[in-house]
């Protein structure tokens, strides 16, 4: 039972220490296979070997695989190495180390990412947000959104909250000038019907209202249709009506569009609604065309 891991360890040790081995593809693949097998070894034995690979003269690909194995080692030292690599490495290795901290999910290592975020460039910041997303660390992403120093940072963090489905946090973000568009997009990504509805029926900020109506269309679902119909019927603002109609189109509520077609007494509006029905490739379009040709409702 224990023979195989020992053999693997021996193979790995030989492979990584054999400077005479040419850096051919075969040697590279052997190293990667050895690293893969290392996951079968006890953590205490695997850790020094992986550390040696990371410190040695190996390709980024091999080191990147070593980082993944490191993320699977449940020892404090492994997390410290990951964090150190995330701080000091450059390029892809840095991003991989950050990702592996997310995969590892160690709370201390995740805390350490905050410093890397604040000192990092845009790509590093994005990697940190991904790591928080992987680890489902909503608190950290919320903190970054709430303390963002630029609109770009704010938008990225809010988008990540949306992807994470953190609707409560999105609704509780402190006021920020021009922030509503990002928040509405994130609410749409999170599928938060209630949050979007609140903005969509509020006509005090027309631009925000239009964004929210678009968002409702993206979210879709049965409850969205009646809300969009209510908005359509309840406004004189053509932009809002158009957005509601577009929302019905995106959410594929053809029967509701047909309902609007039937109740409309304005020929221009009826023509618009008919066009939408045709675009929806709906059976309801045939009914509407029949009615239009027959001169009926």
């Amino acid at each position: 039972m224990h023979l195989f891991p020992k053999l693997i360890l021996a193979t790995l040790a030989l492979t990584i220490s054999g400077t005479a081995i040419a850096q051919s593809d075969d040697a590279e693949q052997l190293k990667i296979a050895a690293l893969e097998a290392l996951v079968s070894a006890p953590d205490e034995k695997a850790l020094p070997i992986v550390s040696k690979v990371l410190a040695g003269d190996h390709s980024d690909e091999v080191k990147s695989r070593a980082l993944f194995v490191l993320s699977q080692i449940d020892l404090p030292e492994s997390q410290a190495i990951l964090l150190d690599t995330a701080r000091t490495a450059e390029g892809d290795l840095k991003h991989q180390a950050i990702r592996m901290i997310g995969i590892g999910g160690n709370p201390d290592a995740l805390k350490g990412l905050a410093e890397i975020y604040s000192n990092g460039d845009a790509n590093t910041k994005e990697s940190v947000l991904h790591a928080y997303m992987i680890s489902d660390d909503v608190d950290s992403v919320y903190a970054l959104a709430a303390s963002a120093v630029s609109d770009e940072e704010f938008e990225s963090a809010v988008h990540t909250l949306g992807v994470m489905g953190a609707t409560d946090r999105l609704r509780s973000l402190p006021d920020r000038p021009g922030a509503s568009e990002s928040i509405i997009h994130a609410l749409a990504i999170a599928g938060d019907y209630e949050g979007l509805r609140a903005y969509a029926v509020d006509a005090s900020n027309p631009e925000r209202q239009l964004e929210a109506i678009h968002g409702l269309g993206i979210v879709g679902g049965e409850e969205v249709g009646p809300t969009l119909i209510e908005i359509y019927r309840g406004t004189d603002n053509n932009d809002v009506r158009e957005a509601a109609l577009h929302g019905l189109f995106v959410a594929d509520h053809d029967t509701l569009v047909l309902e609007l077609f039937r109740e409309s007494t304005n020929s221009e509006e009826k023509a618009d609604l008919l066009r939408i029905l045709v675009m929806m490739d709906s059976d309801a379009a045939i009914e509407a065309i029949d009615a239009a040709l027959a001169g009926g409702p």
């Binding site: 039972m1 990667i32 690293l35 893969e36 097998a37 996951v39 079968s40 690909e61 990147s64 695989r65 993944f68 194995v69 699977q72 449940d74 990702r99 997310g102 995969i103 590892g104 999910g105 709370p107 991904h130 997303m133 992987i134 680890s135 489902d136 660390d137 909503v138 608190d139 992807v163 994470m164 489905g165 953190a166 609707t167 990504i189 999170a190 599928g191 979210v219 679902g221």
Partner: protein, 245 residues
């Protein structure tokens, strides 16, 4: 197209509604390719069938429950985060199925890596048929393994498909990945959930049209490695569990 996971659930008569089972039966009667796939899968799964489970004595059951409670408390203490609802919009469609899967992907094997090493494993087993925590069907572990193996195979053969097929295939993998990620969360297996979440950006990148062939190859290679490691880890942990009985 009916996925391997759903065929597996059908085989184990688990996690599908009566309507879905009826739909499968109809499809199996009318679709020869599907019937052949199902027959092949059945043969494979029969090889894995377990010995008959002997009911455990009641005092041992009580000890299991105590062990599970202890593990749950330990996990909650180590995890400050609460489980979030749905992470992505498209999870919604899968909620019904994942609720069934919530009965347990047999990823209990990963719990040992999340601060639950003190669980008295020996107390949790009484015979060869009871080598896993009660309430977590082994079929779900196999479901996860099948998903990972399928993903691995499909990713290895991506180059043979057109861009449209590739994108469609990757979207299917992403959907199933999300389903299992959700199930892992519900089964208190955060490490598995994190790994599955980590795969998604790579899968999404591979599904995009604007990726250079060399970049795609590098991502496929990375994903193949990570899937292999995950499968090896599941196999090892399952094997260790069996040997501990």
């Amino acid at each position: 197209m009916i996925s391997e996971e759903n065929l597996t659930l059908y085989y184990y008569d688990d996690g599908l509604t009566p309507a879905e089972r009826n739909e499968f039966e109809t499809a199996l009667e009318s679709d020869a390719v599907l019937a052949a796939r199902y027959a092949a899968l059945s043969r494979e799964l029969q090889q894995w069938s377990e010995p008959e489970i002997v009911p455990a004595p009641s005092h041992l059951k009580q000890r299991w429950h105590d062990s599970i409670d202890q593990a749950a408390k330990s996990e909650r203490a180590s995890e400050r985060r609460s489980h979030k609802p749905l992470h992505f919009m498209s999870f919604i469609w899968g909620v019904g199925l994942t609720a069934a899967l919530a009965l347990g992907i047999g990823v209990v094997v990963f719990l040992a890596d999340d601060g639950t090493r003190d669980i008295p494993i020996d107390d949790m087993t009484v015979d060869a048929g009871a080598d896993r925590a009660p309430g977590i069907p082994a079929s779900f572990t196999r479901g996860l393994q099948v998903h990972l193996q399928d993903s691995q195979w499909e990713l290895a053969n991506l180059n043979n498909d057109t861009q449209v097929d590739r994108t469609s295939l990757l979207i299917q993998i992403i959907d199933q990945n999300r389903m299992f990620e959700r199930s892992a969360d519900q089964n208190n297996a955060p490490q598995v959930a994190r790994l599955l979440r980590a795969f998604e950006p790579i899968l999404l990148r591979l599904a995009s049209n604007d990726i250079a062939p060399a970049d795609a190859e590098a991502l496929r290679s990375q994903l193949a490695f990570e899937l292999n490691v995950m499968l090896t880890k599941i196999a090892n942990d399952t094997s260790n569990k069996s040997h501990s009985t």
